[in-house]
Every structure is written in structure tokens, then in C-alpha cells.
Symmetry: D3
Subunit: 135 residues, 6 copies
Amino acid sequence: MATVKLWTDEEVAAVPVVKAVFDDIRATRKSDSVNNFWRGLANHPDLLKRTWTSIKQVMIEPGALDPLTKELVYIAVSSANSCSYCVHSHTAAARAKGLSDEQYAEFLAVVGMATETNSLANSLQIPVDREFLLG
Amino acid sequence: MATVKLWTDEEVAAVPVVKAVFDDIRATRKSDSVNNFWRGLANHPDLLKRTWTSIKQVMIEPGALDPLTKELVYIAVSSANSCSYCVHSHTAAARAKGLSDEQYAEFLAVVGMATETNSLANSLQIPVDREFLLG
Amino acid sequence: MATVKLWTDEEVAAVPVVKAVFDDIRATRKSDSVNNFWRGLANHPDLLKRTWTSIKQVMIEPGALDPLTKELVYIAVSSANSCSYCVHSHTAAARAKGLSDEQYAEFLAVVGMATETNSLANSLQIPVDREFLLG
Amino acid sequence: MATVKLWTDEEVAAVPVVKAVFDDIRATRKSDSVNNFWRGLANHPDLLKRTWTSIKQVMIEPGALDPLTKELVYIAVSSANSCSYCVHSHTAAARAKGLSDEQYAEFLAVVGMATETNSLANSLQIPVDREFLLG
Amino acid sequence: MATVKLWTDEEVAAVPVVKAVFDDIRATRKSDSVNNFWRGLANHPDLLKRTWTSIKQVMIEPGALDPLTKELVYIAVSSANSCSYCVHSHTAAARAKGLSDEQYAEFLAVVGMATETNSLANSLQIPVDREFLLG
Amino acid sequence: MATVKLWTDEEVAAVPVVKAVFDDIRATRKSDSVNNFWRGLANHPDLLKRTWTSIKQVMIEPGALDPLTKELVYIAVSSANSCSYCVHSHTAAARAKGLSDEQYAEFLAVVGMATETNSLANSLQIPVDREFLLG
């Protein structure tokens, strides 16, 4: 249960600045469905607009990393931050972008090993090797 | 400064079970250098052996994800977990595997946006959409 | 579902040391309602008493920060720590203390930017500027 | 030691898009000093520009929360995320905006109690009270 | 709701490598019940096998720490990482291994104080005392 | 470098309420040395006093858990929260209380496995088994 109201399409339609963002989400994703994250942010139009603009630029516009790699990085961060919503939504997004069972298994193994070695390095307070430092 | 002694090559050479792991690290990585993480784990030979065996299987053996993608997932987790050692060592590893400046910039943008939206979803306690749940 | 029993008012009434804390919670807050957090801590009377004493001193007694600012700091920490219960209860508390929609939107924007720049600074391992260090 | 080069003023001056952001940082803050965070982001001009634009909008433009409250929220998040750089830089910023010793002591007490009760609520898995849920 | 299918006993029986792990879990724990964590990992047989092998070695085989202490350490980490599933399952395991109400209360008090002082030390950026450093 | 002044013994001696806490720390621990954490908290006498009173009650007074187990729980939480100061100081404390190399190795293995399975359970969003829920 959210701490804010999740806006219905009718409520969205009544506020032009929110409607404009929702229209762009639908057009960009070529889908009529808009997920709850945006329906919660609709309570705060400026935050909604800034967040969508950044997400569109970072996650959707073509760049130097392929879309699936970006989704995997996104899920890795979301899992480490215990964001249940984000893990669910971006795992679904990764599957829609072609994530195979083999890739998912390997991804989980990497995330698991990274967190394990993070905890060992933090527990042992290992100093950074000179070779890893710049210049 | 570590909470444990970092083993020198001479100390490693005196303990066969530790030496065997260090030999395998050197042979597998085709490099004479062994970084501090393993020199700290050397205090605990069983943990050293189990950790290296898993890291080798997960990060080095060929699989469904390419090596650079695995390093990016590793750094993403390490940054979210504030593991300074791990961020340094795996950013160096990613560069050795060909990470370009453009890819690194895009990776940082994804990590940044993921953590930002994680915090928004967690602050608003957005409920998971039905469409993201399995059948 | 909690890992411990949540005490009913009848159970509370039967244990004087617990009842005394619940009476003080009700008197201090001028409300008959006592939320689940305290009903869970009731299983451990010493912990209940010490925690309530500290919360009362830190969050309720007048001090150098106004009550709403303290609630915002509380939610910020709770969101970063992924404590769903705490986000819910302290967002409700902030609203009861007058949090406006505009303030909440701005708060969310600050939390989001802070987490994003945290992840960038941690990913890039930026060294602290001399000017930020004390004398 | 950063994972990237920290740009000097000479290097900044040679790249117009980076120079434009640095000029705006200096003009907005009315200070000639530009801290290391921006010198690290300078390696990635798009990320630099987008981050500064957002920070300026969220942290500097007048809004519904006063500047000191925003800094306290920022430090709270940064401490919870173990971002040493961010804790240093925003504690300095809070002091520059008038944070008194009494306010700082109270802020620390709130952050400490919030993290403690976060861990208790997460350990006990306390369910959210109905009264904290919307509508 | 998991991001993957949770395997039923019938599905497990049809895949020998998965069945072998489940048989070992049942034999080792002397219980017919296998909890959801393993039913989710069953989608990825290699990860399932490696994880179970490590858990068995670390948590079940006799060692230098008694089983209850290991469970308490496990819950402490799980609470700090906001892993609801892990807190539930290992609190149940600790109780099955004899955790008393008095021990649980004291454990919670330690976890709470540790997180509180963690946040104070991180907020104040206290430097490590020379006496805590090796050699 | 701390965000606050670390008080010298001379400065402590000049403020009776701070001196009283330092005297009690020295008497309780039977040691003349007072570590930096308390020298930083000395800037905020109320917080200093409340924190020391709680730490003394939770960590030092005899209870249901032995002192070494409490230190291990403390380090586990501190490592998960990336508190470098706390990891250093409580690892030193655990050693002073008799932590053997074998126990430390096993502790590290438990912490590592817990964080790894935390990340797997969080990534897969495994639902809690009915058997782990109370009554």
C-alpha cells in the first residue's frame, strides 16, 4: 500500500502536465499500460517529469550499452538496495528484452558472489592494491 | 589497514593448501600478481579455497553473459554495498576487459538512476503491478 | 507477519512494566492508539522501555529542530534502510505534523538526488576535498 | 583515490560543454571553488550536465523546504548509504547554512534512533498498522 | 510473489540433478519439508547445487562456532540487508535450535545498538584509532 | 578525518558531564584508553551520555548471551552497514575477548553466505513459507 494515491487514467487526464508525461510514456514504450511507479509520482508533477525525462534518456535512448545489459545493472542495484518494486518491474523488463534462463542464472550467480565478496572485503577491511589506483 | 595479516609470497609458499590456490589464481589469470583480497583470505585456507573456486566458476569460466557485462554487474552491486575495495578492483578489471569511456559513463548513469528510483519506490512504498507477477 | 506475538491490550494489562510504558505512550501522545511496533517490543520489556525512553527524549521533547524536520530525517533514513514499516509510520506522523504536498514532493526529490549522488560518489570513489576537512 | 581522473581547471577550460557547467556552478554558488565530485563527473559531460541541472533545481532553487532542512535530509541519506564523500561535503554545506551545534547533536540523535528502530522493525518484521495505510 | 516459478515436488522429481540436491537437503536436515528458497533456486540447477553445498559446509557441518551463534550472525546480517525472507527463515531456525526469549531480546538489543552506533560513526566519520590497527 | 573535533583528555576534564562519562568508561573497562568514537560524541554531551548508558547496559552487563557472541553480532551488523570504524573497533574487541582464528574464519564464512543468500532471496523475491509464520 503506497504512502500516496496512485492516479487513475481519469485523474491523469484532468491535469495537463501529468497527462503530457503519461502520453510520452505510452508513445515511447508503444504500450497503453503505465505502471504504478508513475501513478505514484503523478502526485508530484515536477518530480514525475524530471524522473521520466532522465529515465528515458538513460534507459531508452540508444547508447554505448545494449538495453539488456542496462536492465541487468538496474536489477543488481535494486536487489542490493532491497527495492522489491524495482526488482519485480525490471526483471519483467529484462525478460521482455530477451533475458534467457541461462543468462538469468548466471546473473544471479554474479550478484550473489559480488555481495559475498563485498562482505568479506568489508569485514577484513582489505586495503586497495596500488595497481588499482590511477596514475 | 586490514583486520588480518596480508600474506607475502614467502608466507604463502610455506602452506601447501594456500600455495595451491595462489598457483591456480596465477595460472588462471595468466598473471604473476595476486591482489590483496586473496592475501587476506589466506589466513583462512578453507574460506580462501571455497571463495576462489566459486569466483573462478562464476566470473571466469565462459557462460551465457559476456565477461564485461559480469564485471559491470559486479561493480553495480559493490557500489550499492559501499565496498570501496571491490569498486576499485572490479573497475580496474572492467577496464582491462575493454570498458570504454562511453560505456562507463552510461553505466554510471544507469546505476545513478536505479538508486534514485529505488529510493523513490521505497519512499512511496509503491505496490507491485499485477502484470509484473508470475502467472 | 511478525517473528513475535503482537501484544493485545489485555496481555499488556497483565504485565505491570509493559503496562507502564503503554500508559506513558498513550499519555505522551494524547491518543489511545498504540501501534504495532510497541506491541512487538512488548515481548522484551527492557528493550521496550529503553527504546521508548530514547524515542520520547529524541523525537518528542522540544529541542533545536522542529518536529517536522525530525520526521523528515527519520523517513529519509528509513527509506535508505528499506524499512517498510518505518516509512509507513513516519510518513503518517509527518502528515499529522503538517507536511504539505509541496514539502513532500521536495523531500522526495532531495532523497532521490542524495541517493543518486551517493551512488556516483561511491562508484567513482571521489576523494574528500581538503576544504571539507576540519582544521 | 578516484577511479577516474579529477579534471583541473585547465582541462575544464578546454572542453566547452564542461566549462559551461563549471561556470554555472561558480556563478550559482558565488564561489570560485569547485569540489572534486564535479571534477570527477567532468569525464562524462552528459552525466555532469544532467546531474548539475537536477542538483541545482532540487537543492538550490527556492522551494517548500528551507535549505538547511534539505541539507539535513541529504546527510541522513548519505550516512545511511555509507557515502563518506557525501557526508563530508554536505555536513560542510549544512554548517555553511547555519547548522548550530545543538541542531547537529539533535540531528545525530534522530539519525541514530531511526537506524536503531529500523533494525528492530526489520528484525521483528512488524506488520504495518491499518491506520498508516491510505484510504 | 517470486520472479521465478517455485518448483513442486513433482517437478523436482523429474530433473535428476535437482532431485539429488533436494534428497540431500531432506537427508541432512532429517525433515521432509524443503522451503521456498530452494524451490526458487531449482530453476537454476548449478546455482542450486553450489549454494546448497556451501550452506551445508558453513552452517551445518560442526565447526568452531556453535549452531545457535551462527544463526544469530545470519539473522543480524539479514536484518541489516532488509531480507524479509531470510529474517523469517533464520529466526525460525534459531528458535528450533533453542533460542530463548531472553537471548532473543538481548540479540535484538545488540543489533539495535550496533546499527545506531554504525550510523553515528558514519555520520561523524570517526577515524580508526591506532590501537585497532594491526602491527 | 572526522566532521567534528575529537576531544583531548584536557578538553574532557574541563566539562564535568563529559568527564563523568569518560570516568565511567575507564572504570567500567578497567583501561585508561578511551577510543575516538567517544571523543567525537563528546561534542554532544546528552548523546554521549545516552549512547554510553545503552552500550554499557547492552554490551557489558552480564546477560543471556556471552560477550563474544555479542561482539560477533556487532561486527556482522557493522560489516553489512559498511561501517569501517565499527568493524575495526569490534574486531579488536572480539579478539580481546578470545576470538580464535578458527572462530573468525567460520564467522566470516557465515557472514559471507548470509549476504549471498540475502541477495538471492531478494533478487528472486522468494515468498515466506507458511511454516515460518507465527501461529
